[in-house]
């Protein structure tokens, strides 16, 4: 969010809504109506004075109405724009022309009641719809006592209760009496999988978020007794099943598979009754009930659809297809996030990158025509080399700091420190005019080191670094002392001690500042080519997208033809012909002038770093060398082949994919099929593969329905553990039950068995409802065998990319960087990342393409200045650093016939692992040298500055 707020190429219009969308792809005009915030975003410093003085309380909707705030407020501290706004409905000044208190208290003069609504006509080439999801109607919640019984809360409310910055500071209390509850029940599928409220789909995320909320609650209150009521436990996301298992064991969560029909209050307790699938009825009393509310389509879905002229599906989410999951029905308009269907954060972020690729494909021609790039004046090396002249700026932060810390005393103390030539206090150092005046003062006094004693460098250092750069100083010449968080906030009750501590921090910062050195800001040229490894659906999609965005791309496939696992599918989950998707991908790849396909080829070695890779491939026995700037890993996965279940011993036993291939060739074999038995989770979820393979449930039901369609008299039995038809796939599950397909749940300690009976076979299982062993003679037994990782180990070693414990490639960050590998320049998509359906693979491939094109489009890779540096004189070439570096950013080179370590600055992330392990202290980190850190420590202990260097 901070990144979006800071980019000069992103303009954020808050409080705004779309009014009309005219034109055609590449030339849209979006008419946008914007309501005023009444607070100038550029001037507001988010100090909070206005909220403090406003007499008008309003319900805090961000905190789920559990708290009150005032008419001028900010939803939460990290909100972007990082500026307050005035709730126009509640404000006395806006409605009655009275009060005006906030405007008088605002020292930044940011409050401006003369603001009027604005109409914008934006000329844009492409449009992305990301309105998110809506709320389930409260009438649905009322069925479960919400609104009637105070201790029935929604999961949103519970989330705020468990949040450290929430209304109770993370203490879990019952709304009725503010006491800590002992027993909590989570009810799943509220407003999902429920046709009576019109939401027949599964909201996908609730099972996992309930587990998360329950775990957080247990962390807080270890004595809590938590039960979760599931219809099916749907934790099908990457690593989710394992996380759920861990949480269940660690926190002792009770997982109950039952749907609780209603909640009633008995003498202040909440009574639940339920029936388990063995037919037994149970009841219990709880102190608190949390309703795990599903994701609804956005409230304004209909009007968005009308304005943008796109179609919705039968649940009022955006209509898309499995082959083009990010495209709406109107060209040039794309969709991402929960509006496309309920989904979690990693997937939403992935889709968001994916739509960026779609827009970039459409607008490739006009790349860099309307963008703004920031230029800085030449660095003044002479002044930087002079004796340190330090300026110290101590910030009041309104009353945030000055309310506790004696800012003037700290300022004067700073003046007594050696090397300090200027010491001042500022009201808000981060406000636009303060920054300007700081810049002027730096110039006037020929300062070459700056110390800002204010807030957190995490949020504000980049801002002050910008200021330095804008006047020709190296951004590394600044040091921050966080006297707001570490002094004013944590010691708000002890102002004197807080002031003393502030002095300590300033003294330490000054000591370090005297040793600060300008750091080079190198850039590396990028070879404008991409390498895509793997020619399945994901690989082809990524290659086409990169090529469409205007860059050359080599597609390496180890098999004899393109298509991967997709070529074995007959239908996609939404009923499209899979071969039509495959053929169109293949045709595009073949015809594209920017794509060069290498069949029967495998990667042998990759060397280099982001922007400059050299890869050797073995193509039909011949060795070829490819130079490229980035690489996309789309190596796919394979169908798991089970042992047991008579698989491979009897030709009536087959896997789902084998069944699908058979169905594709013809349906005649179904003629004599009386009973078809499917067994889910063969291999998956703990048998051989630890993970859930995510799509087998939907695939099995899809195939079962296909059999029913062609042979309605065939009986189909499906043995399952949890049916995980998440999202709109739930429709398939419902249809299957309506058509009489029999679902039988089994527990992992009682797996069904396939046995020989005379010339035929049968499946032995346990019917939980009847409580009896059953045996079903089977004409066909179909095993849902799940997805096993491909041969990733070798490739992972070559590029130093980490694998998950399941053998899939690990992304750099599950939520923030879901398609990037920790090693710069490598991107990840498709089954190589983990089991997923075709539409998810395609969206992810687009996302990987979007990320891969960033360095290509920039032409240069900027390197963060905080990187390791090896002093080659001291280096003994032991190689410890190389072996430890998680990013492949250190290599050993021969210098005068001796081994020496060398940092590849383009790949270095500045973690410092190498420096901390170097036995000869040959490695130092830019901005954090040993001398600098030692100087800080000495300054802290000595009480006065000693010269360490």
């Amino acid at each position: 969010m901070v990144e979006a707020g800071r980019s000069p190429n992103i303009e954020i219009l808050s409080n705004a809504r779309l009014e009309a969308l005219e034109g055609k792809p590449g030339q849209f005009v979006a008419r946008v109506h914007q309501e005023p915030r009444f607070i100038d975003e550029d001037k507001c410093t988010a100090c909070g004075m206005c909220t403090m003085y406003c007499p008008r309380p309003v319900v805090d909707t961000y905190n789920e109405r559990l708290e009150v705030t005032r008419a001028p407020h900010i939803d939460y501290a990290q909100a972007i724009p990082s500026s307050y706004y005035i709730d126009a409905k509640a404000c006395l000044r806006v409605n009655y022309e009275t009060c005006n208190l906030c405007a008088q208290t605002c020292t930044a003069k940011a409050i401006d009641f003369s603001q009027k609504p604005k109409e914008h006509a934006l000329e844009v080439g492409a449009v992305v719809l990301a309105p998110g999801f809506g709320r389930v109607d409260s009438s649905v919640l009322e069925r479960f006592g919400y609104g009637r019984y105070p201790d029935v809360v929604t999961s949103y409310e519970f989330e705020r209760l468990t949040c450290a910055s929430g209304p109770t500071e993370g203490h879990i209390v019952r709304p009725s009496d503010n006491k800590t509850p002992r027993k909590i029940a989570f009810l799943q599928c509220i407003g999902s999988r429920d046709e009576t409220c019109g939401n027949g789909y599964c909201s996908t995320v609730c099972c996992m978020y309930a587990i998360k909320e329950a775990s957080v609650a247990k962390e807080h209150e270890p004595d809590l007794d938590i039960s979760l009521f599931f219809m099916d436990v749907r934790t099908q996301g990457k690593g989710f099943d394992e996380a759920r298992q861990r949480a269940q064991e660690k926190y002792g969560l009770h997982v109950i598979r039952a749907r609780v029909p209603r909640v009633e209050q008995v003498d202040g307790m909440l009574a639940l009754t339920w029936t388990t699938d063995d037919g037994k009825s149970h009841s219990d009393l709880f102190d608190m009930v949390v309703l795990s509310v599903g994701l609804d389509s956005p409230e304004d879905a209909q009007s968005i659809a009308e304005l943008a002229d796109i179609k919705l599906n039968h649940y009022d989410f955006c209509k898309t297809t499995a082959g083009a999951p990010l495209a709406t029905t109107r060209e040039g308009i794309y969709v991402a996030g929960a509006f496309q269907g309920p989904k979690d954060i990693p997937e939403s972020v992935t889709q968001a990158s994916g739509v960026a690729a779609m827009a970039s494909e459409l607008l490739a021609e006009s790349r860099n025509t309307c963008t703004i790039s920031v230029t800085y004046p030449e660095e003044d090396k002479a002044i930087e080399a002079e004796e340190p002249r330090i300026g110290v700026f101590v910030c009041h932060c309104g009353v945030n700091i000055a309310g506790t810390v004696d800012v003037k005393a700290v300022r004067d103390y700073a003046g007594s420190l050696p090397g300090v030539v200027l010491y001042e206090d500022t009201l808000y150092s981060c406000s636009q005019d303060a920054l300007k005046s700081i810049a002027e003062k730096i110039k006037e006094n020929r300062l070459n080191r700056v110390v800002i004693a204010a807030c957190s460098p995490r949020t504000h250092e980049p801002l002050f670094q910008e200021t330095l750069r804008s006047i020709g100083l190296n951004p590394a010449l600044i040091e921050m002392a966080n006297i707001r968080d570490q002094c004013a906030w944590v010691h708000s009750q002890e102002p004197e001690a807080a002031t003393e501590k502030s002095k300590d921090l300033v003294r330490m910062a000054v000591a370090k500042a005297r040793l600060l050195e300008p750091l080079a800001q190198p850039t590396v040229d990028v070879t404008p080519n991409a390498l895509v490894i793997g020619g399945g659906a994901a690989g082809m999609t990524a290659a086409i997208s990169i090529a469409d965005q205007g860059y050359r791309c080599v597609l390496v496939e180890k098999g004899r033809k393109l298509g991967g696992n997709l070529s074995r599918l007959a239908w996609t989950l939404d009923g499209q012909d899979a071969s039509s998707v495959l053929d169109s991908l293949k045709k595009k790849v073949k015809d594209h002038p920017n794509i060069h396909v290498q069949l029967e080829s495998q990667v042998e070695s990759i060397s280099g770093y982001v922007g400059n890779f050299t890869t050797t491939i073995n193509s039909k026995g011949k060795t070829k060398v490819i130079n490229h700037g980035v690489a996309v890993l789309a190596t796919g996965a394979r169908e798991y082949k089970p042992s047991g279940y008579l698989y491979g011993e009897n030709n009536r036993v087959m896997t789902q994919l084998e069944l699908e291939e058979k169905l594709k060739r013809g349906k005649a074999f179904l003629k004599n099929a009386r009973n078809v038995v499917m067994i889910q989770c063969v291999g998956s979820r703990g048998e051989d593969l630890k993970h859930c393979s995510r799509l087998c449930c939907s695939q099995a039901i899809k195939n079962a329905l296909m059999i029913k369609e062609h042979s309605p008299d065939t009986n189909i039995y499906i043995f399952f553990r949890d049916i995980r038809t998440y999202g709109f796939h739930e429709d398939l599950y419902r249809e299957a039950r309506e058509k009489g397909i029999v679902f039988l749940r089994y527990m992992p300690d009682r797996r069904p068995e396939v046995v020989r009976r005379g010339r035929g076979i049968a499946v032995k299982g346990f019917d939980r409802l009847m409580g009896e062993d059953i045996e079903i003679p089977a004409s066909l037994v179909v095993l849902s065998t799940g997805i096993a990782p491909g041969d990733n180990v070798e490739l992972a070693k070559v590029i130093k990319a980490p694998l998950t414990s399941d053998g899939f490639f690990l992304e750099a960050h599950a939520k923030l960087r879901p398609v990037e590998v920790a090693v710069d320049g490598f991107y990840l998509c498709g089954l190589a990342h983990g089991p997923k359906s075709l539409d998810e693979s395609i969206a992810q491939a687009k996302a990987a393409a979007a990320k891969a094109v960033i360095p290509l489009a920039k032409g240069k890779v900027a390197v963060a200045p905080i990187v390791s540096q090896v002093d080659q004189k001291t280096c003994i070439g032991c190689g410890i650093c190389e072996s430890l570096c998680p990013f492949n950013a250190i290599r050993l080179v021969k210098v005068n016939k001796r081994r020496k370590a060398q940092t590849i600055t383009a790949s270095c992330k500045g973690c410092g692992i190498c420096a901390s392990h170097c036995p000869t202290l040959a490695i130092s980190m830019g901005g954090f040298t040993d001398q600098e850190i030692l100087a800080q420590i000495h300054a802290f202990s000595g009480g006065k500055c000693e010269d360490e260097a």
Binding site: E264, M269, A271, T273, S281, H282, S283, L285
Partner: protein, 130 residues
């Protein structure tokens, strides 16, 4: 051992298990619940028999008068409870030991209240079985 309170509940009142309620301390320990398809099925004999079998107090919980699943079942029950009360009175037993309650469908709270009411009736009365 606390006094035995016998409750006759129709099938449409609370479905929360009595043991669950006892464990939470919401109802007296001596509460027993007998479920009937409908309280209209209750005969006076059955009510009196309950006292003979050791109950110190008996209550009947049926549907709300105008919302009975079987139209007039709970009305019938209420009448019979009335007759039985008279008989108890003639036998020298406090008629307050037998009471009729009407509970909205599926609600547990009225049952809990009924049980507590009966318990309070017994609180300073002597046992009839001594």
């Amino acid at each position: 051992m606390s006094d035995v309170i016998l409750g006759f509940c129709c099938n449409y009142t609370s479905s929360v298990d009595v043991d669950t309620l006892k464990k939470a301390g919401l109802v007296p320990e001596g509460l027993r619940i007998k479920r009937l398809p409908c309280t209209g099925k209750l005969e006076i004999n059955t009510l009196l028999d309950a006292f003979e079998q050791g109950a110190e107090a008996v209550f009947v919980a049926g549907c709300q008068i105008d919302k009975c699943h079987n139209l007039s079942g709970s009305q019938r029950a209420a009448k019979r409870v009335g007759y039985a009360k008279k008989i108890l009175d003639e036998l020298g037993i406090d008629p307050a030991r037998l009471e009729m309650f009407f509970a909205s469908r599926g609600e547990t709270e009225p049952i809990v209240e009924a049980a507590r009411h009966m318990s309070s009736v017994l609180s300073d009365a002597e046992s009839i079985h001594r």
